[in-house]
């Protein structure tokens, strides 16, 4: 009897504890109203007067060139403001992204944090008031003079997080990114071909390479997302840039199941089926694929500009890069945009110093420093282009696309689940498990559900 009482009361107490425990997150405040948004005249830009402070920075600039640049910038920021000590915590993009939500909802947040532009990331955090509206700082520091409106748009949301592309500024990126076509000059010479100037020439180059027993395009898609960087440029050959921007930013008014999107998916499926992407692109990891390319497998590699410096270290002058040929509009359009923007969490301890740091690492001098270290600065790209090497190609391509053409958003910006939907779907298109029409339906289902819901 006694024992039963004891157990019973324990269970009752436990149950009571559960029921009365606060609902998850109810102590976290309720929405955007709390997000700090200092006006330009309230902003403190005198960092030297702040006393000894430690600025905590979480970034994902871990690859060689990116890491060198940010290290150099942190060094000179600390030289300029000896009262500021920077505590840097860097980890891979994937790792940082998974921690961001947890980190932002806690009390002990970093002062500066790289937050992905995508709706599922920056958009969600903006809607919940977790990021500082930087518009006031932008005015005080004159960021609009440095950045083009289209670049700033990729880091802007309405304060409720619903509209992507305009509204307030929630982050600032220091590098640019562009997906294009890497090629081995020696392999093109051996095939007796020049760098393609139209998409048709790309397609015939692929056939010629296959006929010569070369793997036409190197792709490692085990990780699911790399195919997005191949499909993005390819899609621009079939679909008007404006439509892709609408699809990619998750704004209403476009459709994945149109004939032109279907044609783009079919082309990817054909490449997959014919072995143009290798025997088993879905079985090869991204970070295993590009080293294979440097060692001589594959004539082309379609991917991001961030791979350039590391591949050049192995291939030297043999490695070349080009923006994709002009697309459906007759103008060049390809996936790209900014690196991951640096943001200031709402609960940051030192927002003024954080904004000053962001100002510093995106200044004109910083752009030169990034270029020196082999990264691609988002501003002054054309004038900072090196005299030779793959970065000359990359800088010129980025400049051409951002000034004359369209930088298309990454397709996974569109909806919180689109990275997974598109990743899995493109894998199935390449592997032949999904017909292009079925794939288009799957993509439309995700995009449609999101845009109708918002």
């Amino acid at each position: 009897m006694r024992r039963r009482n004891f157990l019973g009361s324990t269970a009752a107490l436990g149950g009571l504890g559960l029921l009365t425990a606060c609902a998850p997150g109810s102590d976290g405040g309720d929405g955007g109203s709390e997000a700090p948004a200092p006006a330009a005249d309230e902003v403190d830009t005198d960092i030297a007067a702040l006393g000894d402070i430690t600025l905590t920075v979480w970034d994902q600039e871990v690859r060689g060139a990116q890491n060198d640049a940010i290290e150099a910038l942190i060094g000179s920021f600390q030289e300029k403001y000896p009262n500021v000590t920077i505590d840097r915590n860097s980890q891979s993009f994937d790792d940082l992204q998974q921690q961001t939500g947890l980190a932002l909802s806690g009390n002990d947040v970093p002062d500066v944090l790289q937050v992905n532009n995508a709706r599922g990331d920056m958009g969600t955090f903006v809607a919940d008031g977790l990021l500082t509206d930087l518009t006031g700082y932008a005015e005080a520091y004159g960021w609009a003079d440095r950045f083009t409106p289209s670049v700033l748009g990729k880091m802007s949301y309405s304060s409720d997080g619903v509209t992507f592309g305009e509204g307030s500024l929630y982050g600032l990126a220091q590098t640019g990114e562009v997906c294009g076509i890497y090629y081995s000059q020696k392999k093109l010479d051996a095939l007796g071909l020049a760098a393609p100037t139209t998409w048709d020439e790309v397609f015939s180059l692929v056939e010629a390479a296959a006929a010569a027993d070369e793997q036409p395009i190197m792709l490692g898609n085990l990780d699911q997302w790399p195919a997005l960087h191949v499909f993005g440029p390819l899609q621009a050959n079939f679909v008007p840039a404006e439509t892709i921007v609408t699809l990619g930013m998750g704004n209403a008014g476009a459709d994945w199941t149109t004939d032109d999107n279907l044609a783009a998916l079919s082309q990817l499926a054909e490449w997959g089926a014919s072995g143009a992407l290798g025997d088993s692109p879905n079985g090869l990891a991204y970070d295993d694929a590009w080293p294979l390319f440097t060692e001589g497998t594959g004539v082309l590699l379609i991917g991001g500009s961030w791979l350039g410096p590391d591949m050049e270290a192995v291939m030297g002058e043999d490695l070349r890069f080009m923006a994709p040929p002009a697309g459906a509009d007759g103008k060049v359009a390809t996936t790209g945009g900014t690196g991951i923007p640096f943001s200031v969490p709402s609960a940051a301890a030192n927002p003024a110093a954080a904004a000053a740091f962001i100002d510093f690492i995106t200044s004109d001098e910083a752009m030169a420093m990034i270029a020196e270290n082999g990264g691609m600065p988002v501003n002054r790209t054309a004038e900072l282009a090196p005299d030779s090497g793959v970065n000359k190609d990359i800088y010129e391509a980025f400049d051409a696309v951002s000034t004359e053409g369209t930088l298309l958003p990454y397709l996974d910006y569109a909806t919180p689940s689109f990275a997974d939907t598109a990743g899995a779907t493109l894998q199935e298109v390449i592997g032949g498990q999904a017909e292009p029409a079925a794939a288009a339906e799957a993509l439309q289902e995700d995009y449609g559900a999101f845009t109708e819901g918002s």
């Binding site: 004891f6 504890g17 559960l18 425990a21 929405g31 085990l222 498990q433």
Partner: protein, 311 residues
């Protein structure tokens, strides 16, 4: 009178003087529970409380930060109609074959063979067989990812013996990806199962085998009549451990395929992680975790019941 009174009292008093009376605390019925209290507090804080919170989260719609909405059992109802989740459960059940059944069958045979042969350096071989258990699973996954890659060891070996038709990106082909991940599990769990069974077999008295041999039993009959019944307890333990490992697999899938190609290798743990950290649907993720916990619990209660009943 007086003396008889004291005489009667004395036996009661004397021991009382030598041993002090147990305190009120020690005599109380709650005493046994005081002994389990320290362990229970640790267990409660790090196992029961998180489990309870997960159960609570599963009734809410919550992004992991900000405000939440109570939705009752809707997360569970959504799971019932969720093709991804059903695929994940099916994959986990298939993984049981690779993690538990195959290691058990092969482990039984190997252990029985090992027990019979008096191999020199037995300790060394045991260590080698057990090694996969010691290596961090992330390291195991990275190593196997290399082996399975299109230019990896497995394909090189197949090409070397002229089986070029079989070569493929093992993790990228929906027909082989799950089996490829599962086989890593087999490799990892085999050593554990075999060691458990070996230790069980070493406790069987040699006389039993001798008697069986005198009765004319061959090695196979010996195995089924003596060895197998004797290690039933070890088999149950091995099955429980490996089935849990199979159902909660996360690291291997995360490091090798991220659930791909398509969704062909997704498992419940990966779904829970994916929903919580990528889709920011903490409620749905908690529901997946609770269903997984119940599934593990039910299957293992079944295994233990069967193991104990027949013993």
């Amino acid at each position: 009178m007086a003396s008889s009174t004291t005489g009667r009292r004395a036996p009661a008093r004397l021991p009382a003087r030598r041993r002090p009376r147990p305190s009120a605390v020690a005599r109380s019925a709650a005493t046994p529970y005081l002994f389990i209290l320290p362990a229970f507090l640790v267990y409660g804080a790090f196992a029961l409380y998180p489990l309870g919170r997960a159960a609570q989260f599963s009734l809410f719609e919550w992004k992991g930060f900000g405000s939440s909405t109570f939705v009752g059992l809707r997360n569970y109802l959504d799971l019932a109609g969720d093709a991804d989740f059903r695929a994940a459960i099916a994959n986990a059940l298939i993984l049981i074959v690779f993690y538990a059944v195959i290691p058990l069958v092969v482990g039984l045979v190997l252990a029985a063979v090992l027990r019979r042969g008096q191999v020199r350096g037995m300790g060394f071989f045991r260590t080698v067989v057990f090694l996969p258990q010691v290596i961090a699973l992330v390291v195991v996954a990275v190593a196997w990812r290399q082996i399975y890659s299109p230019n990896g060891l497995l394909n090189e070996a197949l090409r070397a013996v002229g089986l070029d038709v079989l070569t493929r990106g093992w993790l990228g082909d929906p027909g082989t990806a799950l089996a490829a991940v599962g086989f890593i599990g087999t490799w990892v769990e085999m050593g554990l199962v075999m060691l458990l069974l070996l230790s069980g077999m070493s406790r069987i008295p040699a006389e039993q085998f001798e008697a069986a041999r005198l009765d004319g039993a061959n090695a196979v009959q010996e195995f089924f009549a003596i060895t197998l019944p004797a290690v039933r307890g070890e088999i149950t333990v091995a099955l429980v451990l490996t089935i849990i490992a199979a159902l909660k697999t996360f690291d291997l899938v995360y490091m090798t395929t991220s659930g791909g190609p398509g969704n062909s290798t997704t498992v419940p743990s990966f779904e829970a992680y994916f929903r919580a950290f990528e889709l920011r649907e903490v409620g749905s993720a908690s529901a997946v975790a609770i269903v997984l916990t119940l599934l593990i619990f039910v299957i293992n209660v079944g295994v233990s019941r069967i193991g104990e009943r027949e013993a």
